[in-house]
Symmetry: C2
Subunit: 609 residues, 2 copies
């Protein structure tokens, strides 16, 4: 053993002990004839004191940053104590030292506020991982992992490993594939999730399954996506939606308690997908703050059960609103005194291509009770007040109004709401607000193919009282322009998403467990009997031998860790992440393979020019 204690162990109660430590040189400070060294390891930092008698040895073996050092010495009380670190009352008076390994000068400083840019830190990830900021993230990740396992174990869940080399059944996302040398011309696929396996386990009677497991999706990467990612994957048999919601609300609350010390006792609200879209323009609303969407005008074809406030804006011949499909507003708290420059900035913001609005209307609900707007020539102060009231604005608020095509405008108001919340500091890292979003549409319309696609996945069951709508109707869409009138458009899924602070951290559903219904689902998605058999014959087969009712959920583990860690970027919660091109710049992977490998796999490249 190279050490008797770690660099985080020793306290004043260890005074006079003879100890051996090993770690990395964080800093070297020479004061006259004595030298102080901060020695660092995973557990902390301990101050070392090299007295005059070691000067010759130090001259012969000079210490540098990040050198690996072993010292023997005695624990002594410090003269000048450091209250900021747990070992701050003591130091080690070194009697012997040995350099275990040298270090070149690191390309960036190993400190919380490092001088290294993203690229260099990714290339030297093994050095970046030494930084306390990154270490804390990985420690948090492990705590969450451990906490989740303990909860699931206590609730009778079994961790059962499912295979990684499976069959390619591309549905939504693209599969990564693996050529099989022993079966030339054939390929395995890496799992996008263990979905069908966990369902088979339910058929096999393992009624509570979990796994913390890598999954793979070959998608074009956005900033916050990785080609390989980790799920907390769970499934239960003999359950209904309510059972799943209770069990997994419990899981997240357990994690909050374990890793953040937070007693999350609030009731977790449930919101239908339709309400979420209506009130927040978003199916994963951040409910830490209010600013609900005021629907001033909606198209006739959607939200058919909802009532808009079109009477408040109609009849003044304001073409922008009159010609828009949708007009929506939010009341931004306390911003009525925004200057012209500031409102112009917001207008520019919503006109950016990512948002895509043509302009923005605002109403200032002044502190003195008056109203002022960018559309004063169309709307009287009374009308402005009525709109402001509809948007639940209080004196001092700034009402922002967007108008345009339904889908784009609704997304834009949601983006604007989030942007304003960010600006106003309403999205606090240390505040956690859970929400279940339920009753998603089962199908989405695919314009290109004029057909239905599964919004969640093809194994999600319809709401119990919508099963017959699915069974009794032909999924074919005769008139593409009237797809919204097709009975399938209104089938709701028995599905649920867990939303944390405006992020979807988990999602799942009650599954189909009847062969006929599953076949109907596959058919609705455009799969003929042969394709069904080829891709999912094993599952259809399994459903013939006594499949129990079942359902489950999967949490995006990387994102869950990031959000609990107070960040929305997942990359620093992954030990060895890939960049946006799917490259590991440290390894320099992916890379070419050699001719022998091509020959053995019986494949060759077929590069487009």
């Amino acid at each position: 053993m190279y050490r008797t204690h770690t660099c985080g162990d020793l306290r004043i109660s260890d005074n006079n002990k003879n100890v051996t430590l090993a770690g990395w040189v964080q800093t070297v400070r020479k004061f006259g004839s004595i030298t102080f060294v901060d020695l660092r390891d995973r557990y902390g930092i301990t101050q070392l004191l090299f007295s005059e008698n070691l000067n010759a040895a130090l001259d012969a073996n000079p210490l540098g940053r990040e050198y690996v050092l072993q010292v023997k010495g005695t624990v002594n009380e410090r003269s000048s104590k450091n209250a900021n670190i747990p070992t701050g009352e003591i130091e080690i008076t070194v009697t012997e030292f040995k350099i275990l390994n040298k270090s070149a000068v690191p390309p960036f400083t190993i400190q919380d506020d490092t001088d290294g840019g993203d690229d260099i830190r990714m290339k030297y990830r093994f050095l970046d991982l030494r930084r306390n900021a990154v270490k804390k993230n990985l420690e948090l990740r492990y705590s969450i992992n451990r906490s989740a396992r303990n909860y699931l174990h206590a609730n009778n869940f079994m961790d059962i490993e499912t295979p990684f080399l499976i069959k390619s059944t591309p549905e939504g996302a693209r599969d990564f594939v693996v050529p099989s040398r022993m079966n030339p011309g054939q390929f395995y696929a890496l799992p996008q999730s263990p979905q069908t396996f966990k369902q088979l386990l339910m058929v096999s009677g393992y009624d509570r399954y979990y796994q913390i497991v890598k999954c793979f999706r070959d998608e074009d990467l956005r900033a916050d996506r990785q080609p390989e990612f980790t799920q907390i994957d769970c499934e239960m048999a003999f359950v209904e939606q309510e059972d799943i919601i209770n069990m997994f609300e419990g899981l997240v609350k357990h994690i909050f308690k374990d890793v953040k010390g937070i007693d999350y006792t609030d009731f977790v609200d449930r919101m239908t997908w339709e309400d979420a879209m209506w009130q927040y323009g978003n199916d994963k609303p951040d409910i830490r703050f209010d600013m609900k969407v005021c629907n001033l005008k909606k198209p006739a074809t959607v939200f058919t059960d909802k009532k808009d406030n079109a009477d408040l804006i109609n009849g003044v011949d304001f073409k922008v609103f009159d010609e828009a499909e949708t007009v929506v507003a939010i009341a931004v708290p306390g911003c009525s005194e925004y200057s012209r420059k500031q409102t112009d900035e917001l207008t520019e913001w919503v006109k950016r291509p990512q948002i895509g609005m043509k302009g923005m209307v605002f109403i200032k609900a002044n502190a003195d009770g008056t109203f002022k707007s960018s559309v004063d020539k169309f709307y009287s102060e009374d009308k402005l007040k009525a709109i402001a009231d509809a948007a639940s604005a209080k004196a001092g608020d700034l009402i922002l109004i967007l108008a345009g095509a339904e889908e784009r405008t609704r997304k834009a108001i949601s983006d604007l709401r989030m942007y304003m919340a960010e600006r106003l500091g309403l999205r606090r890292d240390d505040e956690f607000k859970l929400l279940w979003v339920i009753d998603f549409p089962l199908f989405e319309y695919d314009e290109e193919g004029n057909r239905w696609v599964a919004r969640h996945h093809p194994f999600t069951a319809p709401k119990p009282d919508h099963i017959n709508i699915m069974i009794n109707n032909d999924p074919a869409i005769k008139d593409a322009t009237k797809y919204l009138e097709h009975p399938y458009a209104n089938i709701k899924a028995n599905a649920y998403d867990m939303v944390l602070n405006g992020n979807e951290v988990g999602g799942g559903s009650i599954r189909i467990y009847q062969r006929e219904l599953q076949e109907k689902m596959f058919a609705a998605l455009g799969m003929d009997a042969e394709e069904q058999q080829h891709k999912f014959g094993f599952l259809l087969g399994a459903f013939e031998y006594g499949a129990p009712p079942h359902g489950g959920i999967a949490f995006g583990f990387d994102r869950l860790c990031a959000i609990i860690g107070g960040s929305e970027g997942i990359r620093d919660f992954i030990a060895f992440p890939k960049n946006n091109s799917g490259r590991d710049v440290m390894l320099d992977a992916p890379a070419t393979i050699d001719d022998r490998q091509f020959a053995e796999l019986q494949i060759k490249l077929d590069l487009k020019d």
Copy 2:
């Protein structure tokens, strides 16, 4: 919720409770006007009683094997109790029932002694997993997983996930590769182990790492190999061999205690690789029984420190021994009365191609103190006695002697020893014997390339006092016939294998952590500087920035589970295993992929007719 209790919950103390159960119909037995049903789930079996009043309903909805059934009813004391099951004192008097799902007749019986062959059980794996025998294995696997995690957590190890999409650096085994769509012409590899990543984590200061993780090797499969397998992968910094041995002996003892209730307090022996080969002909000896190898004759070039008993067999002009490189014997306890037929059978056994011996000599150490052999015309009874004594034979033992080329003969005597132990019932499933094998050769000679290959892997350090032999000598082998005289042939590795009941369940080493030594190792394996940089530049780079001394171990989790479960076949300890052609016959994977996938990946097939 579909049930108030599981099928394993209810006891006589629940008498008169109204309950709801759900599960699978195991058996249906009709006695006159009443019907008994055994209802099964993961937790047990509960007897259901359908009285006369339900006959009409049962006629309308007949129950079959493996139907999924929900019942409401009352817990009652049974008239005829079943002491074999925990719920055996009660039954449920059913008031209502509902068939949740029907089942076709399963292709084999869902019982411990099933009538299904291997192939059909693999195809219908979801049904095979219902059998108690398989379920117990998966439950054991989960218990071991949980126990290992708890021990490692208590010892400050952190579970840190390493990537699955890495870089192909084929050394020993073949990599599975994954074409990258986003980087056309380039491939990821699936990890054969997280070896280099865990070493990087040590460089990063995470001094105790573990992971229970899938690994991948594209090898031709033997009966007991899987293309994907699971490791308990561990690494520690600032440690020497002794630290690792203590920590992981502790792990396995902890598992024994947790999952088998066994207090393994015996000292775990350590045996050098040389002693293991000398005494057992095998580097993973089963030491539950004795039958050590008696070395009657060895070649001059190997085991140079060991003394054989050549004087006992020489000088009688027995050509078979005189011309053999190696002559080895074992004394099989209590078999001196084997008939001619039985010894002939053994001779045939060693002549099988897998063993490859030309014949077998035997000596019977009769119970009356006399000796009789198949070579009586060459050896006097005194000489036979001397050989028997050298083999530690007691009266009543049968001494079996093999002669031939060193490598093959030594393996053959080991195989024969194991075969005889199996025959004699000396390999007991419920007896566990651990052993560390240490001091392996660092290199193996590769005849084809006339060069060295790493016996363990290229990151294993030599024994501390052998480092200089490695540094100070040129690895090139000038004279292939004299490779054994090359200084590298005698370098021992700082490596250790954990052997359990004759199976290697874990293996590891202290690693190289100095850049120069690692470069020397790569060079010894025939890698020039460019290739080193291309394949392992990141690791060599990391070693420049303060790499600490470190080492680790990996346990073959599938095998560990199997052996603790009293089996040597790993397949039934894996939920969804592949067959010997690497196929998942349930999924029918691997399979062809479609043209769009080929086009996107920019590869095509290149099949040899």
